[in-house]
Each structure stands twice: as structure tokens, then as C-alpha cells.
């Protein structure tokens, strides 16, 4: 384990920043490094933080209007012409609205288009269920050739943006709207396809993606007071999964929890369930949205209501641990 965590991570006044802000910085930096990078937005340029890139490279920014099908298919054509297009909208619209176009003209067509889905998860808040995208992880991870990343904070979002700019593959980056606690540092590693052990433990393995890794860290700290030593693994890349790191942690702990701000069905929890049932069957608790939509409310209020906050997760894990023996296999 060699992952520098934010030293003030567990403080009440931990620094917070919207994950999308990191994307904005990363895209601008990627644009400085590579002239082939172009940015397309469907009428949400400030909101998705493409505005930094637009200001720096107005000639490489394309305003697409409210037309998400055209957004990704024009991007496919730009990629054919040798460009590296980043497309942004709210995740509910892209990939929500234009999934088939992404499937045919980007994934099957193997074009290195980057799909940035901002405002994912219930923490979108007052806008309500229509705008709280919960199915994007499931939609994107089933596509062959597609890379799927849900960064844990704005620092990691910046690194992930730079990484997908150069990976030559169709890629999906999932961003959250709200201010999110900073869990990492500039020195923390990020590599596509890698998971990171943030905290070691031997009683249970907590796998988090996106904003939920922070909540798992909080939960792990609470659990410690109840003599449950949880290992926390951050899994920013949902596809391809870092099977080696994940399975090693599962093998050690014999009980697993996944957490995501998305549908657990076919989402990150679904991906882990698939992995475990094929390679290392282990009792699993999936934290996330359980086959239901969100609703309007303040972000913190909703996170609590849906039991996605560290305290609720810790309670649910205590129950899970008390009911579930560790499952150690002879591997």
C-alpha cells in the first residue's frame, strides 16, 4: 500500500471541490499537451467545466447545441479525421440519450471519442430523478472496447482526464456535480485499470468507486471503533477492472462491500458480483441505489436518505458482518 491520502481527510473541514472542476483543469492541460484534442459540448459548457478549454482554445471548441445524438456522432467523424474529441453533457443525456450512437459509431467503430457524463448520481439534488443519472455505469460498461472511469475526487478527475486523452480508446468519464471531499493528493497514483488499497484491514473489504470511496473511508473509521477492521480499496476504473488487486483484497478479508452512487444492478456492484461469482465466490453487500430512481432534495439529505453516507454504510456493514461469516477459501 503506497497511496498518499489527503492528511485532513477525516477532518470536518476537509477540502471539497466538485469533481467536474478537476476535469476542466485536466482537459485544458491535455489540450496544451496535444493539439489533436478538441472539445464538443451540448449547451452545458460552464456547467460541465469545458469552459476552461474553450477559453484557452476557442478554435478547438465546438458548440453543438442541445443535440446529444449529433454530439457523439460528429465526434466519431472528427476522430476519423484524426482528432481526439472530448464530448460533454449531463450523464442523463449523454450516454442516457445517445447510447446507440455511442455503441455503433464509437465502440464498434473503435474511435477514441471521450464521453464525459457530468452530474451523475443522486447528489445532483434538487433537479430530481430525471437528471440524477444512475444507469450510466451499467450502460457503458457493457460496451466492448469502452473504458469506464469514475474518479474519486477532483484531483483524480484531472489525472483521469489526462490519461484518457492519451489512451487511444473510447472512454467514459463519470463526474459528479456537488462539491466532493478531496481524498487524494497530487502525488497519489492514478493509472487506467488500477485499483488502490487506501486503508488496510482484515475483517472485510470495501470497494468504492467515484464519490463513494470517501464515504467508505468514513465508514471504515467508524467501524474501527466497533472492532471491525475494514480494508478500503478505491476502484476508479470500473472497466477494465483491476482483478488482481480486488481479488487479493477479497481473498484476505473474506467479505465484500461495494459502493457506488448508481444502480447496483449491472453497475459497479454488478461488475464485482460477476467477478466474484466467476473467480472467488464471496459474500457481498452492494451499497447504492437498489432498483429505484432518486428524487428532489438537498444532496446531503438524499445521500443520507438512500443510506449512502459513511455513518449509514457503517451501520449496514455492522449488520452484514454480524450476519455473515468470513468466507475463506483454499486458494
Amino acid at each position: 500500500m503506497n497511496y498518499p491520502l489527503n492528511p485532513s481527510l477525516y477532518n470536518d473541514d476537509v477540502q471539497q471541490e466538485p469533481i467536474r472542476a478537476g476535469f476542466g483543469r485536466g482537459l485544458k492541460a491535455a489540450g496544451e499537451a496535444n493539439e489533436a484534442i478538441v472539445a464538443l459540448c451540448a449547451d452545458l459548457t460552464d456547467s460541465t467545466k469545458m469552459s476552461d478549454f474553450r477559453a484557452a482554445f476557442p478554435e478547438r471548441f465546438i458548440e453543438m447545441g442541445i443535440a446529444e445524438q449529433n454530439l457523439v456522432t460528429v465526434a466519431s467523424g472528427l476522430a476519423r479525421a484524426g482528432k481526439i474529441p472530448f464530448t460533454s453533457s449531463y450523464a442523463a443525456f449523454s450516454p442516457g440519450r445517445n447510447w446507440e450512437q455511442i455503441r455503433t459509431t464509437i465502440a464498434l467503430n473503435e474511435q477514441p471519442v471521450k464521453i464525459i457524463g457530468s452530474h451523475a448520481g443522486v447528489s445532483v439534488g434538487p433537479d430530481g430523478a430525471t437528471h440524477q443519472m444512475l444507469e450510466d455505469i451499467a450502460l457503458m460498461r457493457v460496451l466492448p472496447h469502452m473504458v469506464v472511469i469514475a474518479p474519486g475526487d477532483s484531483i483524480e478527475a484531472e489525472k483521469a482526464t489526462k490519461a484518457i486523452a492519451e489512451n487511444g480508446q473510447p472512454s467514459y468519464l463519470r463526474l459528479a456535480r456537488e462539491k466532493t471531499p478531496i481524498i487524494s493528493t497530487d502525488e497519489s497514483p492514478f493509472e487506467i485499470g488500477k485499483a488502490y488499497v487506501l486503508r488496510e484491514g482484515h475483517d472485510i473489504c470495501l470497494l468504492g468507486t467515484g464519490t463513494m470511496t470517501y464515504q467508505l473511508l468514513v465508514a471504515a473509521k467508524i467501524l474501527e471503533q466497533h472492532a471491525i477492521h475494514a480494508e478500503v480499496v478505491h476502484v476508479p476504473t470500473v472497466k477494465p477492472l483491476d482483478e488482481e488487486t480486488i481479488l487479493a483484497s477479497v481473498r484476505k478479508t473474506g467479505r465484500v462491500v461495494t459502493a457506488e452512487e448508481a444502480q447496483i444492478n449491472a453497475g459497479f456492484g454488478g461488475a464485482i458480483a460477476e467477478l466474484l461469482s466467476e473467480k472467488l465466490p464471496t459474500p457481498l453487500l452492494r451499497v447504492g441505489m437498489r432498483d429505484r430512481f432518486g428524487e428532489s432534495g438537498e444532496p446531503a439529505e438524499l445521500i443520507k436518505h438512500f443510506r449512502l453516507d459513511g455513518a449509514s454504510i457503517a451501520e449496514d456493514i455492522q449488520k452484514f458482518v454480524s450476519e455473515t461469516p468470513q468466507y475463506h477459501q483454499g486458494f
Binding site: 447545441g65 466519431s76 467523424g77 479525421a81 459509431t105 467503430n109
Partner: protein, 297 residues
């Protein structure tokens, strides 16, 4: 441009392309007949005259590019590409078969020379527009052109009109689109299924330069493309009026042949299934069909 063949030779080539289409569809046992047949003249004009291409160098950076938006019509593209020398004509017989580079709908990664992957309708035009945007605004290269073909039934798709607005806004003058106006789609006549008219006015109102031509007159096709290239401040659409199934009289105008090859259905007036391929090829070879392409030798 190509310009290697005389008009008569181009017409003969289009006839050969139609024969290729019939024989490859029969070998495949499935696929679309009407659209590929009626696009034979436009596609022959594009690949043998209009476009600046080199079949031996499909990724040649100076090439003109072609995007097929209505991917189900790909048999005609495969046929013109084979005739033009992108791959052996014999390979046409592998259409839709396991292991073939000639997938039922075109896949760029399978066959060199294809610029896009299409099938689900409405997205090829956007891909062409993206390419044209790159040439005009990012590369600032003015001597290359982006050609696209769409179906008319395909214009039901909302994605098409998003692309139309986009190309109009950015005045993508290197984008030249042919609409195969054959008036049929799977469920019947386009005007019965979902009326498209006034098509001319629709495209004009989106900021496009609009021409209407006889899509079976190769000279008109070449002239219209030339006119479109001369329009420097708008994208161009060429509404090509065509006859579905053109060249095989028992298929002409009949929407039943949209998605079926010879030998699979027997609509009123058609020969018995077992004889359809022979009759169709015979008509093309002897000009018993309605092609006005002059003598075939």
C-alpha cells in the same frame, strides 16, 4: 477527380455493379435489394469519377472520403469498391458470410477503405459532418471533400436533422450529401409511413444548398457534385430521385424488395422465386430492364 472513364463506360460499369449486387445477394441469401440497385449509378459516379481516391492507398491523407449513412445499402458500396480495385471482385461472394470482411452492415475496422460503421440509421451524416468540420476549421484544408449518401426513409430519424442544423450553422461547404429519394421504406411508401415533403424546402430552411436530379443519369450526378463543390458557403444536399430496384423490372417501385434478395419472396408480378436471380441478371445483361445506359458490350 477520377475522370478516367467515358460516360458510356461509367454506365456500363454501373450495369456491372448491378449484376454484382444481384449475384452477391443471391449468394448471401439475405440482404437488401432495392436501395443498392437504385444507388448503382450514384455510387459508380462517386467512386469512378467524382472522388479523388486511390484504391491501393485507402488511408491516403489527400483522399476524398465517403460516408454511407444508410448502412443496409452497403452491397452497392462493396460492389463499386471491388470494381474500383479495393479488393478482388470474387470476394463479393463472401457478403454476410462467417469470417467475411464484408459484414451485413459496414464495419470500418473490418475492411480498409470504409470510413465509418453504420447500420442503425441517422448517424452517418453526423460522422460525415464531423469529418467536414475537421477539414474546414481544424485542418483548414480546402481541396478535400466529404461525400455522404443517406436514404430517404432514414430522414425519419431525429439525428439527421440535428446534423442538418449543425452543418448549416457551420456552413460546412466541403460536405456533399446525396439523398436516395426512392420513395420506399420497409413498411411502404415514404409518404404513407411518415411524409417527408417538402424535402427541398426543409433542407433549404436548414441552410443547405439544394439540388434535385435524376439519380440514374450519371452525367447529372457528376454535374451536381461539381456544382456542389462550387458552393463555398453552405453544405450541399443533392436530392437524387431514383427508382427503387432500378434495373430489374420486377423489383422496380416495389417496397417489398427493400429488405429481401432475389429468391426469397414472390410479390405479385415477380417471376417464381427459383427463377428470379436468373431473370434479374438476364435483364441486366441484355438491357431487358429499364436502364437507359446505351449499348452494353
Amino acid at each position: 477527380m477520377g475522370g478516367q472513364l467515358t460516360l458510356k463506360q461509367l454506365e456500363q460499369k454501373a450495369n456491372q455493379v448491378r449484376q454484382d449486387i444481384i449475384s452477391m445477394l443471391v449468394a448471401a441469401g439475405s440482404g437488401h435489394s432495392a436501395g443498392p440497385l437504385d444507388l448503382a449509378d450514384i455510387m459508380t459516379a462517386l467512386y469512378f469519377d467524382i472522388m479523388n481516391i486511390d484504391p491501393s492507398k485507402p488511408e491516403w491523407p489527400e483522399r476524398d472520403v465517403f460516408f454511407l449513412s444508410n448502412g443496409h445499402c452497403v452491397p452497392v458500396q462493396y460492389a463499386v469498391m471491388a470494381e474500383r480495385g479495393y479488393f478482388p471482385v470474387e470476394e463479393l461472394q463472401t457478403l454476410r458470410k462467417f469470417g467475411s470482411r464484408l459484414q451485413g452492415h459496414p464495419e470500418r475496422t473490418k475492411l480498409p477503405g470504409l470510413e465509418n460503421t453504420s447500420g442503425p440509421l441517422g448517424s452517418g451524416l453526423s460522422q460525415a459532418a464531423g469529418y467536414a468540420y475537421s477539414l474546414q476549421y481544424l485542418e483548414k484544408v480546402r481541396h478535400r471533400w466529404v461525400y455522404a449518401v443517406t436514404g430517404d426513409g432514414e430522414l425519419n430519424e431525429g439525428n439527421i436533422w440535428e446534423a442538418a442544423m449543425f452543418a448549416g450553422k457551420y456552413k460546412l461547404s466541403q460536405l456533399i450529401v446525396f439523398i436516395d429519394r426512392n420513395n420506399i421504406q420497409i413498411d411502404g411508401s415514404t409518404e404513407d409511413v411518415m411524409p417527408l415533403e417538402d424535402l427541398h424546402a426543409k433542407w433549404e430552411s436548414f441552410g443547405w444548398h439544394v439540388q434535385e436530379i435524376d439519380g440514374h443519369n450519371i452525367e447529372s450526378v457528376i454535374d451536381a457534385a461539381s456544382m456542389a463543390r462550387a458552393i463555398s458557403n453552405k453544405p450541399s444536399v443533392i436530392i437524387a430521385h431514383t427508382i427503387a430496384g432500378k434495373g430489374v423490372d420486377f423489383m422496380e417501385y416495389d417496397y417489398h424488395w427493400h429488405g429481401n434478395p432475389p429468391g426469397t419472396i414472390e410479390p405479385e408480378g415477380a417471376p417464381p422465386k427459383s427463377d428470379q436471380a436468373r431473370v434479374a441478371l438476364n435483364k441486366l445483361r441484355t438491357l431487358d430492364g429499364k436502364i437507359t445506359s446505351g449499348d452494353i458490350h
